[in-house]
Symmetry: C2
Subunit: 363 residues, 2 copies
């Protein structure tokens, strides 16, 4: 199967092999050395000296964790949304009783840092900004460095959903002053889903100390305390740790800059191939994502019809759109273990499929 | 390694093999068929026709989920505790702002259903009872059928932590009227940690409809809605599903009653072997657990000293005690993929170790 969705991603053979290691005691010395190694490798890709915590759950779990650990009921937060995952962040904040001010941008566009600045200047009660770095639903990457400059220039807490960017796209957590940065194991990390990551700055810990939202499973204090002894508070997804240990060694060997450059190169290849099929790219070209490419289906052809045929005839799995653009867009994931050849196989299959569908007379 | 802790447990070869299957689309037909099969198999072992939801997280995550999905702030709950995991359930309820009435029993003893009845009769504001079926910290199994009769006879919601019992010990979820029953993949299920399970009765869903505690990641309505389409709301721990598919097929082939009988037989063997070493069992013999056996260390010998030597000299990993009995007790896990021979290896190693430690003159 050519799995070309924006996570879960295909796993390299040595990662698959690692998954079949026998279980160990999660409170013993082998696990302590494993979590220490994986944590350090993640910090290298997060470009941070801050604490980094590994949670058992999906990326959305980490989003919930970042909110319940740093905020108090009724606190005013600015949720910046450029698509479905931005909306999700706002929804979590709303569910937990925060006073959510939402600033949205049209799907396919990036957030405008100046507009965020104006919002923050006009509404001084906002303490915290939630932002998606890479919006998986539209294939748009926000200019996190510029957004961070705006947010940190106003001394707000900055929480970044970097779930589908960190490890594949440059995120300078410390240099840019991002307080909380999140990611998930099934994205560019070449590991299965089941673990999520959160880095925390000094300011994030200060906010945490006074944050009153209820929490237990996601509590960062417990995670930090146990990590100091090479453990997690609750039983972790050990086999995903095995996978990450091996995949992070590969990524490290390849080198951070080389991994980012490869993602940029393959993303450009994906956009070129899609365009050459006569299909229109969805994202603003200035902010096109290096991990996922969204494109319009041909006029009047439902994305789900194309996706079904791709799977049945070509063993190629792509993602359809999300939310309002479910039927009219499709997406290629190109993060993690991916090469130009994988894109070619998927693009060829899309080309043949739309050609065939175009010749079917409308009923 | 002879891994003899009460979870994670050793995995059979075919389960290890299944873990190295390539990733699939969690929103595609293969996953839909996988989650349907695993859910049905789990329901057979839970002995329930109720809904059963699979969550990505540890057992403690499922405990938190059961609380935030069925209760509202300030609601009065009775937390029945016979050890560390009972205390944890009470702690989660407290963290989430519930009005927690705790009823504790001495470690090593089971809960007295009559005392629970008296408490419920004296305090009519209690709406919900939290109870541990099998207390992993002490190796005691509560009489869930009797407790359930008391609780359901008074029309309270009954939430059961069956994390280390369901699948290894009989739990008649429907026949006994248990409203919410929880378990976790790394226990008797012969799978790695990463997934947790919750069954929900009609009353549980009714309570859920009015439950005001904040939730998003753990929301049962979302989980049920997505399950109807063969999905989960957020990316699930796919490789753990692969493992469960295979391990549940094995358990199903063995047969429910046979699996429970095997656990009973091996547990008795473990107690006999420990006793024959001259070590005193911790649990009340009338309520000794079939999945974990706790026993006292020899007078003056710290459990951690024994555990260290077991690991270093005999490649045998046992659990030390928890909480107040950390130093003075140890525990054998005997759930999942376990035989009498595994117990013999561990018991022999303990025997040789305590013999050697006894001959070391005290410093």
């Amino acid at each position: 199967m050519n799995l070309r969705i924006p996570g879960p991603t295909p796993l390299p053979p040595d990662v698959l092999q690692a998954l079949s290691r026998q279980m160990i005691n999660h409170r013993g010395p082998e696990f302590a050395s494993l979590i220490a190694e994986v944590t350090n490798q993640l910090k290298y890709f997060f470009q941070t000296e801050n604490d980094l915590l590994i949670l058992t759950g999906s990326g959305t779990g980490a989003m919930e964790a970042s909110i319940v650990n740093t905020l108090s009921p009724g606190e005013r937060v600015l949720a910046v949304s450029i698509g479905n995952f931005g909306d999700r962040f706002a929804e979590i904040a709303t569910q937990f009783g925060l006073d959510v001010v939402k600033i949205g941008f049209p799907m396919g566009q990036a957030a405008d840092p100046d507009e965020i600045a104006r919002k923050l200047d006009a509404d001084r009660d906002i303490t915290t900004v939630l932002v998606t770095h890479n919006e998986t639903s539209t294939g748009v990457t926000n200019d996190l460095e510029a957004i961070s400059a705006v947010v940190k220039g106003r001394d707000k807490l900055l929480i970044v959903d970097g779930i589908s960017s960190v490890g594949s796209v440059e995120v300078k957590t410390d240099a840019w002053g991002c307080d909380v940065v999140l990611s998930g194991s099934q994205k560019g990390w070449m590991a299965p889903p089941g673990l999520a990551f959160a880095s925390l700055s000094k300011l994030a810990w200060e906010r945490h100390a006074n944050a009153k939202l209820p929490r237990m499973y996601w509590d960062f204090t417990a995670a930090k305390k146990y990590l100091e002894h090479g453990e997690t508070p609750f039983t972790p997804a050990i086999s995903v740790f095995y996978a990450l240990q091996v995949s992070l060694q590969s990524l490290r060997e390849e080198g951070r800059d080389e991994v980012f450059a490869r993602h940029a190169r393959i993303a450009k290849h994906a956009r070129d191939r899609v365009s050459s099929l006569g299909l229109r790219l969805f994202a603003d070209p200035k902010h096109a994502s290096n991990t996922v490419t969204a494109f319009y289906t041909p006029e009047g052809v439902d994305s789900r019809v194309i996706a079904k045929e791709l799977e049945e005839k070509y063993d190629t799995v792509v993602a359809v759109g999300q939310g309002a653009i479910t039927a009219t867009t499709m997406r290629f994931g190109h993060l993690g273990w991916v090469s130009e050849a994988d894109i070619d196989v998927a693009a060829d299959a899309v080309g043949k499929t739309i050609e065939r569908l175009a010749t079917i007379p409308a009923r």
